[in-house]
């Protein structure tokens, strides 16, 4: 049996499962206290202070990154706003433990509604809350053994820094959590400790305690009761992979010197550091939605300019492809009310179609981009999402050129654009294929519907055919940004199809670089042909692998 999740800290871990069960029960709603309000408040404050001091002490013992994380958590336990909320509830007759529980709940809602990084902090808050409730109700917090005869695989719904800070590689073989994402503390601390970790592994806490599992922190898999051979093979693969990734440096390209710039997908200026650390040669997709979502007012031109310039400055010699706002439909903007109810948001007024309705938003964004690029050596390229026709492409590129933006392109996400790339080529300077949306529209399979994920497989021969059509022979460079470019096997196939650049999330860059460097352009072309000759996604994948002999040796 294999439990699948998201690998966030690479490496192989093997050992018995230890399931950490959160067992601090919710204090009953409506719980009251006997005695004086002031005494009850003092009890609550003392419990919060005890938890804060304990977190600080653990941080000091652990040192390093964990110290900062736990110091920040201690600040949360001592938060004056939280204390005011607790006091107010106690004044209304609520027992201290329920008052603490509810006050944390208010802030928890605030963080989860923001989502993303802040949403992942909600787990930290839950941990502080549970610790405080445990103190108030005289329970001991469930702990994690910090000595073990054999390193164990720690499995939990989610892990708090206070749980993991005092652990080491000698005690823990791997972390597996049901929740959490790439920026959760479990991920950050696991990477800092060099322990493999898989998050978002649904069903993991259902594993039998003590059963042996094999955790692959790169692939994101947890294999239950693996054979000895399987463990040994996984270790070998992991070592070969690490070695290959370390050895692959420099600009992307095939072994016979065909250059393929390896670029990064960015969601905001905060991701630049990881991109540079992984050797990104430029930016293939700078998503600009972060500036617009969750706002009541549109961002000013000056604010946009700052955010664009921050990224342009980070890649002085490279190119930076900025995608104009891709909102609308399922990502509505508060300041741009929808035109009406859309029964199929993915087929609605999104991307460039929304700019047709609100040209002033496009004008402001393009102006800000033109100003941001002034005087900087980076090559700014601007592209529009959700383009289907030549008229749309022309409208966009003319707007770009009117502002002195010299390189204007379009995304190929709609099958119509792929089929007629030759016509679009006359209107644009470059193309970038968004494989995720192209798959969604080609297979009529909503990206949000997990049950349809097989239809989202980028190895589907129909999708490969459309990519080949989009690349075409029109003479305009065509890149790929999307999950497909991040798969080292598929990346070789894409290069074989004639794709000029590959853009992916920062952590995917080293594996793609190593895979490409292990093969010639002719081998990539042969792999592409072999894949397209198949009639199923699985067949295409297997055929491509067979045509790329170095992948296995590289552990990819």
């Amino acid at each position: 049996m294999i439990v699948a999740g998201v690998g966030v800290s690479p490496g192989i871990g093997h050992g018995p499962v230890y399931v950490l069960t959160a067992s601090v029960p919710e204090p009953p709603e409506g719980a009251t206290y006997v005695g004086e309000a002031e005494e009850e408040k003092a009890r609550a404050h003392a419990a919060l202070e005890k938890v804060a001091a304990d977190l600080e002490a653990r941080g000091v013992r652990a040192g390093g990154e964990a110290k900062d994380v736990l110091a920040a958590q201690a600040l949360m336990a001592r938060d004056p706003g939280l204390a005011v909320g607790v006091d107010a509830l106690i004044d209304r007759g609520t027992a201290a433990e329920r008052a603490v529980y509810d006050s944390f709940g208010t802030y928890r809602d605030l963080l989860t509604s923001a989502g993303g990084y802040l949403g992942e902090r909600a787990a930290d808050l839950d941990d502080i809350r549970d610790r405080t409730v445990a103190v108030l109700t005289g329970r001991t917090m469930p702990g994690v053994p910090d000595v073990a005869a054999e390193p164990y695989v720690l499995v939990a719904r989610d892990l708090a820094p206070a749980d993991t800070a005092l652990l080491s590689k000698d005690v823990v073989a791997a972390f597996v959590t049901e929740e959490g994402g790439p920026t959760s503390h479990t991920a950050i601390l696991a990477r800092a400790m060099g322990v493999p970790a898989v998050v978002a592994a649904r069903g993991a806490t259902g594993l039998t305690p003590g059963v042996r599992v094999l955790v692959d922190g790169a692939a994101g898999t947890v294999t239950v009761e693996p054979g000895e051979r399987e463990v040994a093979a996984a270790r070998r693969r992991s070592e070969a992979r690490e070695q290959a990734l370390r050895a692959a440096t420099g600009p992307g390209g095939t072994s016979d010197g065909h250059a393929v710039p390896l670029l990064v997908n960015l969601g905001g200026p905060g991701e630049v550091k990881a991109a540079l650390a992984n050797g990104a040669e430029g930016v293939g997709l700078y998503r600009t939605e972060f500036l617009f979502l969750d706002r009541k007012q549109p961002p000013t031109g000056a604010e946009q300019e700052t955010a664009y310039r921050a990224v342009l400055e980070a890649f002085p010699g490279g190119k930076v492809v900025v995608r104009t706002l891709d909102a609308g439909a399922d990502k509505p903007l508060a300041f741009l009310p929808a035109q009406g109810e859309e029964p199929n948001p993915a087929l609605g007024e999104r991307g460039l179609r929304m700019f047709r309705v609100h040209p002033e938003v496009m004008a402001e964004q393009l102006d800000a981009l033109a100003r941001a690029a002034e005087g900087l050596p980076a090559r700014l390229q601007v592209m529009a999402p959700m383009v289907a026709t030549v008229e749309e492409a022309t409208w966009f590129t003319e707007a770009c050129r009117a502002r002195g933006l010299t390189s204007a392109g379009v995304m190929i996400e709609v099958p119509a654009a792929a089929l007629r790339a030759g016509d679009l080529a006359a209107a644009v300077d470059f193309f970038s294929i968004g494989t995720n949306d192209l798959a969604q529209y080609t297979f009529a399979a909503d990206r949000q519907v997990g049950a349809l994920s097989a239809l989202q497989d980028a190895w589907q021969p129909a999708l490969l055919d459309l990519i080949a059509l989009a690349v075409g022979e029109h003479g305009r460079p065509c890149g790929v940004c999307g999950e497909a470019a991040a798969d080292p096997v598929l990346a070789c196939v894409l290069v074989g199809l004639g794709v000029a650049t590959l853009s992916m999330s920062a952590p995917s860059l080293p594996a793609v670089r190593a895979g490409l460097a292990g093969h010639t352009l002719a081998q990539c072309r042969a792999a592409a042909e072999a894949a397209r000759a198949q009639s199923t996604a699985a067949g295409a994948r297997a055929a491509a692998r067979a045509a790329l002999p170095r992948l296995a040796a590289l552990g990819l």
């Binding site: 938060d79 706003g81 939280l82 605030l110 802040l118 921050a310």
Partner: protein, 85 residues
Amino acid sequence: MAERKVTVEAEVGLHARPAATFVQAAAKADIDVTVARQGGQPVNAKSILMVMGLDVRQGETIVIRAEGDGAEELLDELAAIASAP
């Protein structure tokens, strides 16, 4: 009422360590001090939970306000923390 407008330069925004340093400095002062997104509702700068909840990212501008003894010095200190890269 004294105030400072500062652009947050830290890569993580006003989160994690920068937020903790900011709140610790604010909490030391005896006077009230608030922080807001530009044009937004001010929150207690001594509350890490409220400051995190503002969700200020790199490159965004915040407004810090304080009134009373030592307000100017406190604001200078907080502005320096918020604008540190």
